[in-house]
């Protein structure tokens, strides 16, 4: 890990703790796609911090280019601190697949952190999922899909605030989502969302 990463992890631990609870799965170096509820700008850092150091090195977060790419400071945190993959949510080039950078990262064998809602919600429970998770799962069936529930982060840094306040947050990792033959896209996304909701209970 690079020095900026250590700083980021230390600061995250101090502010929100980000304690990991492996409820349905165990830490493993095999390729995984972690998908979580999204309520604040520190979600990415918190989930990444909760992973053991040897997994962090090969786990990259998908981050919105229209937020993390807008200032030199945020860019530095995202790229140098988190080793993030910036994605173009706004589709500035209509011909390009916004998921392409993620495919590239998965082809390299890295694990991913994604927030399938696509945007932050003001509620602790996730809203409906966008189809990105489905496409990733179709294309990379060998990657394990791990649902993650981030607790309390919406309280630490509500939408619209600039800095987090210290509130302890736990990061719950659930059991890998099993593939079901012939399942429709909507059914799959609903089942994935359900997996997170169940972790919240």
């Amino acid at each position: 890990m690079k020095p900026p990463s250590y700083l980021l992890v230390g600061l995250t631990r101090l502010l929100v703790g980000a304690t990991a609870r492996w409820v349905g799965s165990q830490p493993d170096t095999r390729q995984r796609i972690y998908f979580a509820n999204h309520t604040s700008h520190i979600d990415t850092v918190a989930l990444w911090t909760a992973l053991p150091p040897q997994l962090r090195r090969r786990t990259r977060a998908a981050a919105a280019a229209d937020y993390w790419g807008t200032s030199a400071f945020k860019r530095y945190i995202a790229l140098r601190g988190l080793n993030a993959v910036l994605i173009d949510r706004k589709r500035s080039d209509p011909g390009a697949d916004p998921l392409a950078p993620l495919y590239l990262a998965l082809e390299r064998g890295d694990s991913l952190i994604i927030f399938p809602e696509g945007t932050r919600s003001t509620q602790p429970l996730p809203g409906p999922f966008k189809s990105g998770l489905y496409h990733l799962a179709q294309r990379f069936p060998s990657a394990e899909l791990i649902p993650v529930y981030l607790e309390n982060l919406h309280r630490s840094m509500p939408k619209g605030e600039f800095m987090p306040v210290p509130i302890a947050c736990t990061v719950r990792f659930g059991a890998a989502l099993q593939a079901e033959a012939g399942e429709s896209k909507d059914a799959f996304l609903a089942r994935a969302r359900d997996a997170i909701v169940r972790l919240a209970a």
């Binding site: 703790g17 304690t19 003001t122 309390n152 309280r155 509500p158 939408k159 619209g160 605030e161 800095m163 306040v165 210290p166 509130i167 302890a168």
Partner: protein
């Protein structure tokens, strides 16, 4: 005896106690049978281990000097408040007030101790904190449960910052004939409170029959309290040589500390339960959170500070 020498004697005594406790754990582990008793020994073992690290941190800060001790307690306040706020249902409208509490009130309160500005230190949170915290929340235009939210934040701030900061505030006292030794008072306070907690636990486990407040704190018993309070008072009296007190005064002080510590444990336990939790957190293995270890200290410190200041400084 020089203050340094007293300190080494003190640390020697504490290390001996911990060695005995570690030995007892080791022996118990070999003779105890059965699921339930084994769980008790496991918990005891974790507690003793945590004690070793807590004593190490405390002694290290003490050796580094006044600044390190103040910084250490600023972090204790920080984590205690973090636990309190985590269990308290806050709303987005509280964000500014919480930022104020964590990022302004804690540093200023501890800076005032460092700067030895007692007159502002003693009223900073009860006056300025008290009035500004709800003002910040009110500016967020959210009236839902406003009084409850403000009250809870103020309670957290009073306990976690104001009360706990009275431990290092002992360094502010100018006691004639005791110059440069205030840090020993700090040790005295923490040691008496923690010994009282431990001894009440031990007496309660051995002889506990009659519960004092079963709903609030199931582990507190009359037998545990009497045995623990009496022996902790004796421990306090026996430590008169590191204080400016006579043995009798030291016993009196220790008794007040024990009593306040007991009430602190009781009140914060009730509070924790009203927030729907069994432990404040998970920071210190075997003990729960920072607040579970600091609850008695938070009640004992301001009273001990006040009595010492009132009776022993000009």
């Amino acid at each position: 005896m020089t203050p340094k020498l007293k300190f080494y004697w003190l640390i020697g005594g504490i290390v001996t106690l911990l060695l005995i406790a570690t030995l007892i754990c080791w022996v118990l582990r070999r003779i105890v049978k059965g699921e339930a008793s084994r769980a008790v020994v496991d918990n005891l073992d974790m507690r003793v281990r945590a004690w070793w690290s807590m004593v190490a941190v405390f002694a290290f800060a003490f050796l580094l000097g006044k600044t390190a001790t103040i910084v250490l307690f600023a972090f204790v306040s920080f984590f205690a408040l973090r636990e309190f706020i985590t269990l308290t249902p806050t709303r987005p409208g509280d964000h500014r007030a919480l930022s104020l509490a964590f990022f302004a009130l804690i540093p200023v309160q501890y800076w005032l101790i460092y700067y030895q500005w007692y007159t502002l230190y003693s009223i900073f949170i009860p006056v300025y904190g008290f009035l500004l915290l709800p003002s910040f929340s009110a500016l967020a235009h959210d009236t839902e449960h406003f009084l409850e939210r403000s009250a809870k934040i103020q309670w957290g701030v009073m306990i976690a910052i104001y009360c706990i900061s009275h431990v290092p505030a002992l360094l502010l006292l100018e006691i004639p004939g005791f110059e440069g030794q205030d840090a020993l008072l700090l040790f005295y306070l923490v040691l008496v409170v923690q010994m009282s907690d431990v001894l009440q636990y031990v007496f309660g486990k051995l002889f506990g029959r009659t519960k004092i407040a079963p709903v609030v704190s199931p582990s507190k018993t009359v037998e545990g309290f009497i045995g623990g309070a009496a022996s902790a008072t004796a421990v306090g009296a026996g430590m008169w040589w590191i204080t400016p007190f006579t043995p009798l005064q030291s016993a009196g002080m220790a008794f007040v500390i024990v009593l306040m510590g007991f009430l602190g444990g009781l009140v914060l336990s009730a509070m924790k339960r009203s927030l729907g939790a069994k432990d404040w957190g998970t920071m210190i293995r075997g003990h729960g959170g920072m607040m579970d270890r600091m609850d008695s200290v938070s009640f004992a410190a301001p009273v001990f500070f006040h009595l010492t200041r009132y009776f022993f400084t000009p």
